[in-house]
Symmetry: C2
Subunit: 349 residues, 2 copies
């Protein structure tokens, strides 16, 4: 994790303090806990982050910025489909700027494209940081990829199933075992957590694979790269991002991520999810167009299940797919790290 | 084809007056012949377009803009991988602006991002038109697609095999038979030819499918839509664009396009092409994630073959895949139009 000077962040989640749309807030609370002073959501004010989101412990949820006088940064804490800034948030953002706070956003709607934000920020001398803003213009070349740097890629049945968290936890587990693993961030939240990366879903379409390959080539001195996946090959909206990313990182091994109990595409109730077993076949077929690759494990998000249900689900999926399965929060990422280490000797040996 | 006031275009192809990189010039010569007064390429000056490109007849190739005094528009006539303006072309573009010509470009490098072009254009009162510039921000919804508007999509073994031409010729053939077919342009050249469309390869990655679906929804009053394909699902650089487009248009039928005799990915000699039969399976599998779809015909680009070789190739591929095959230039697009019409009753009947 790249070090930065500690900020004092208010996470803006107004009306969205829940784990799906508010996943940016959840992950910053989990992986940058020292930097968060409060969440801003008048609908949940008075409660704690821990009580509402099961992460962030005693971090307070406040109704107004007045209640967080020490804060120097307002961070947009949501990742809505489409990436737009909710219109009702504009006065809150302007108020933060007026208090001399920097504003950090990972949305597609760039802060710097709003003349009111730009004028206010200029007047106050504060920064508007758009994490997704980029000028990627490199195509991939499918050259110079090394087999002594093992590339692992989290892929998914859907978006918002926990690919970023599974990636971070695999990298952390490998590092705890004394191996040199690097998390490659490809989304706004991953970048906010890791301090570097590329917002793949916001590059110009022709350069999805190229901007991915560039990150791989820049990091092959590590022993393992765990590349955060995006969307799903079966997602009606984002499958292009998913395939460009898959073909840009040419993974040796893939970890399939899904949420137990989900039956339809997130935010598209009329689109049923594809069965996991079919998707394993689809991902392997598409990955193999660029190089040998297979799914080596499953990251299960079992947040909707009780302990017994989660164990039953784990056994069922493991047996059906013949793969190790775990929920990284319930079980840790050990079985997935094992699968990565078992894959490695077959590549470098 | 949308009507516009006739321009007097010089196509800039300096050093690239050949059918692959110069495909924009070739297509504008073929489908907008009345608008082109000359090609600019000092290396081929004195010859005709017809002699060098086998299209454009007596249109002269000139060495300098002085030789085309009536021209009012300079159009960038190439589509290079990566989409950059060759540095050596900058003085030519500035010279055109200096002569009071508008400049039209379909490259990723926008004319309007070059301060020298912008300053010169402002001084001369001429227009800089970047066909790829867009601000697409819609996601797809996989709703409201109608089965009484038949969606046909050209897909490919590679980029630069002729998907645009096959699409245009199928639409033209259907129209000649009295049916109402519309070509949906998704690339710079298609847009220059058709007068509308969306530069899919240049939208922000999250919106590839959404910007495609938007074009479909806006055109369902036609009987047939023939959606121009881009890249290939097996292209290391552009597969993300290809899949996003496929999932955005949810085709009822696909036409597989390829170039006979090509063995490696265009511009990437170290990457062998996937066999056609395998790709038919891959495209069908990926399309079927969104809706029932199958490959119904093959568009063969046989420019490297003699007449006998072309016939043998046609029979071989038709027999191998069990599909009608034609080169639209040699044979017309009738067998493909037949395949589209045979598909239609199964949808609307």
């Amino acid at each position: 994790m790249t070090d930065q000077l500690l900020r004092r962040i208010v996470l803006l989640t107004q009306g969205n303090t829940e784990p799906i749309t508010g996943k940016t807030a959840v992950s910053v609370l989990r992986y940058r806990p020292d930097e968060v002073v409060a969440l801003l959501d008048s609908e949940e004010a008075g409660k704690t982050a821990g009580a509402v989101l099961h992460v962030g412990g005693e971090t307070p949820i406040v109704a107004t910025l007045d209640e967080a006088p020490s804060a120097d940064t307002l961070m947009i804490g949501i990742a809505p489909s489409g990436g737009k800034i909710p219109p009702a948030w504009k006065p809150i953002i302007l108020q933060a700027i007026g208090r001399g706070m920097n504003v950090v956003s990972g949305l597609h709607d760039f802060l710097v494209n709003d003349p009111d934000f730009v004028a206010a920020a200029k007047q106050q001398g504060v920064e508007l940081v758009d994490v997704r803003k980029n000028n990627e213009r490199d195509v991939s070349n499918l050259r110079d990829l090394r087999d002594d740097c093992v590339r692992i890629h989290t892929v998914g049945q859907d978006c918002c199933v926990g690919k970023m968290v599974v990636s971070l936890e695999i990298a952390r587990t490998l590092n705890e075992r004394g191996r040199d693993a690097k998390f490659i961030a490809t989304g706004q939240t991953g970048i906010l957590v890791e301090g570097d990366g590329c917002p793949i879903d916001c590059v110009v379409a022709d350069f999805i694979s190229g901007s991915t390959e560039k990150m791989i080539l820049a990091n092959q001195h590590h022993e393992f790269l765990v590349v955060e996946g995006q969307g799903s090959l079966a997602h009606p909206r984002y499958s292009g991002v998913t395939l460009g990313l898959l073909h840009g990182c040419v993974p040796h091994g893939m970890i399939m991520c899904y949420e137990a109990g989900r039956t339809a595409v997130h935010g598209m109730d009329h689109v049923p999810l594809q069965p996991l077993a079919h998707l394993v076949k689809v991902y392997e077929q598409m990955a193999n167009l660029m190089g040998p690759s297979r799914v080596i494990g499953v990251g299960m998000n079992s947040r909707r299940l009780g302990p017994d249900e989660a164990e039953a689900e784990r056994e069922k999926v493991s047996s059906e797919l013949g793969l190790p399965v775990c929920d990284v929060f319930r079980h840790g990422a050990d079985v997935l790290a094992d699968a990565v280490l078992q894959l490695a000797p077959t590549l470098v040996g």
